[in-house]
């Protein structure tokens, strides 16, 4: 029994993200540019991490690699214990669907498609049954406070509401990781506050949240702040305001 518990605790402690020596290089020879120049990073389950840095620091490249949207030149990446770095496109699409929930600066909802249909979409690609899909989408939209807007198309929703639909869509597949790329970049301060409160709730419920941002106040809501510059991590510290 002791041994079983020990194994269990190892499994529990399996990091959500483990990146080793990630390099992303554009171009060849002398003209090549390192967008990521040897990044190693471990994020445990349940963490709330902000990745900060000026433009050109490599934070967006890192986000694309963490989200399995782009491949790296060299290095290893384990997502929820699965090695992503050597995976083919077919399996990557499954990983993206099941393990990651994306939130983008520009919301990226499917145009001319209702909120509920947008939220149902990732489940459709996973083969969830229509009825269950509907129920889960309704719950997710309710959680983000849009239970009364389910049949609105993106153009009929405000920026803040669109981003909350995107959050509902990201959460509905119960991903291991919620990955947000400048999520407040296109929002006013009120919507920003609402969204950050929503992130707090999601993290409090045990979900791992990684936010890429260049805004200090957004980063300061996270429990851990990683700063990048020139393709490298320059600092990685707990946010003392949030972590006792």
């Amino acid at each position: 029994m002791e041994a079983v518990r020990a194994v269990d605790s190892v499994v529990d402690k399996l990091p959500v993200i483990e990146v080793r020596d990630a390099i992303k290089r554009y171009g060849v020879g002398d003209a090549s540019i390192f967008a990521l120049n040897g990044v190693s990073l471990t994020i445990e389950a349940g963490e709330y991490v902000a990745i900060m840095g000026p433009s050109g620091s490599g934070k967006s490249t890192l986000m694309n690699i963490l989200g399995a949207l782009d491949n790296m030149t060299s290095g290893e990446y384990f997502l929820d214990g699965i090695e992503i770095s050597s995976m083919d496109e077919i399996h990557l699409s499954i990983v993206r669907g099941r393990k990651i929930g994306f939130i983008f600066q520009s919301f990226n909802l499917i145009p001319r498609t209702t909120a509920i249909a947008n939220v149902e979409l990732p489940m459709a690609y996973q083969g969830v049954k229509t009825k269950e899909r509907r129920e889960r989408a309704l719950v997710a939209l309710d959680v983000v406070g849009l239970g009364d807007r389910i049949n609105h198309e993106p153009t009929e929703l405000s920026g803040g509401q669109q981003q909350r639909v995107a959050v509902a869509r990201a959460l509905v597949t119960r991903p291991a990781l919620l990955l947000a790329d400048e999520p407040t970049g296109a929002l006013d301060s009120k919507s920003t506050a609402d969204l950050l409160d929503l992130f707090d709730q999601i993290n409090a419920a045990g979900r791992t949240v990684v936010v890429i941002t260049h805004e200090l106040d957004v980063a300061h809501r996270a429990k851990r702040i990683i700063r990048m510059r020139d393709g490298k991590i320059v600092s990685d510290e707990l946010n003392k305001e949030r972590v006792a």
């Binding site: 694309n64 989200g67 949207l69 782009d70 496109e89 077919i90 699409s93 499954i94 993206r96 669907g97 099941r98 994306f102 983008f104 990226n108 909802l109 499917i110 145009p111 001319r112 498609t113 979409l121 990732p122 459709a124 690609y125 996973q126 083969g127 869509r169 597949t173």
Partner: protein
Amino acid sequence: MSVFEIVRFAIRGLFTNRLRTFLTVLGITIGVASVIILLAVGNGSSKAIQASLDRLGTNSLQVRSGGGGFGARARASASSQKPLTILDAAALMDKTQAPDILQVAPIASTNGTCVVGASTTTPSTFYGTWPAYYKASNTSIQSGSYFTNDDVTQGRRVALIGQTTATALFGTTSPIGQTMRCSGIEFTVIGLTTVKGASGFQDGDSLVLIPITTMENSITGNQPLSSIIVEATNSKTTDAAQTELTTILDARHGISGRKTADFSVFNQASLLTTASTSSKTFTTLLGMVAAISLLVGGIGITNIMLVTVIERTREIGIRKAIGAPKGAILSQFLIEATILSVLGGALGVLVGFIGSHFTIAGTKPVIVPASVFLAFGVSILIGVFFGGYPASRAASLRPIEALRHE
């Protein structure tokens, strides 16, 4: 991800761009419909030629004045030409010299205007002949009676008229027993011929037939015949009949040795064979035009699908980011293209069938069944192949590239 689901996505994709969908479908519809209709017109015209071939029978020969050619030589020898006369026609009825000739009908023709009260008409066919003409030319009457050999001998002023002429002169009242004035001579209408319909641009029912003697005595004088129709005893003896009539007419016109014949014999069957060959060429040309329009429709689908993919690149990126597998994206766009082409093809077949019910350029179209399957099949193949290329391009996009697309 079920097939049903992907089909739903595809249909939704088509519905969000209604105008574009409509125009693409229209392109394919026009392509398919034109293939079907144009081939049907071509087929209809060969069928019509075939029908007149059957109707005429292959045992009919026509003799006309003049040599075979229209060149300078034919004109130069015009003075020495002997015209065809009613005596020539009579000579051909010699059973011993021409055992294969069944009957002979001389035709004298004129251009005249017929008048009844205030109504006038100019029949496109105004012939003087005798009763052998009826069978040789496949003319019958729907009411009244034929003029007889006796009418011809007596030179009576009686006439058979066609439906168009009857309507022009007498309206809806029966023309039988009425009188009309043609080229200044009064005729009693004794018969109304059966409707023949139009052949080419000529209305076969704009017709006046009178005894040849009446025409020569009262209207034209001793003008040469315009032609002589000769009917062989059966279709196998047509060639023998042609030889016999040539021999008789050569003797009568003093044609021998190097002297060029001053008459020509037209074999209806061979004329129609020529017509049927040119009709086949016509059909082929029409088919090619139609095939090009179908191809253009196909290029339309490719174009639309390319534009759709480019315009929706970002959407494809989003779909991929939330877990859409390559197959699902590929299927969605492929199904969109297939729906466009099947819909366009089906509508095209429908329009083709409807369009083929109308008479086009004087031809009643007859649908070629193979053209329907061909056009429909080609439209679907075009949709799948030409739609497949943009679809696979869309599916192979890396999500990050697709998402960056504005």
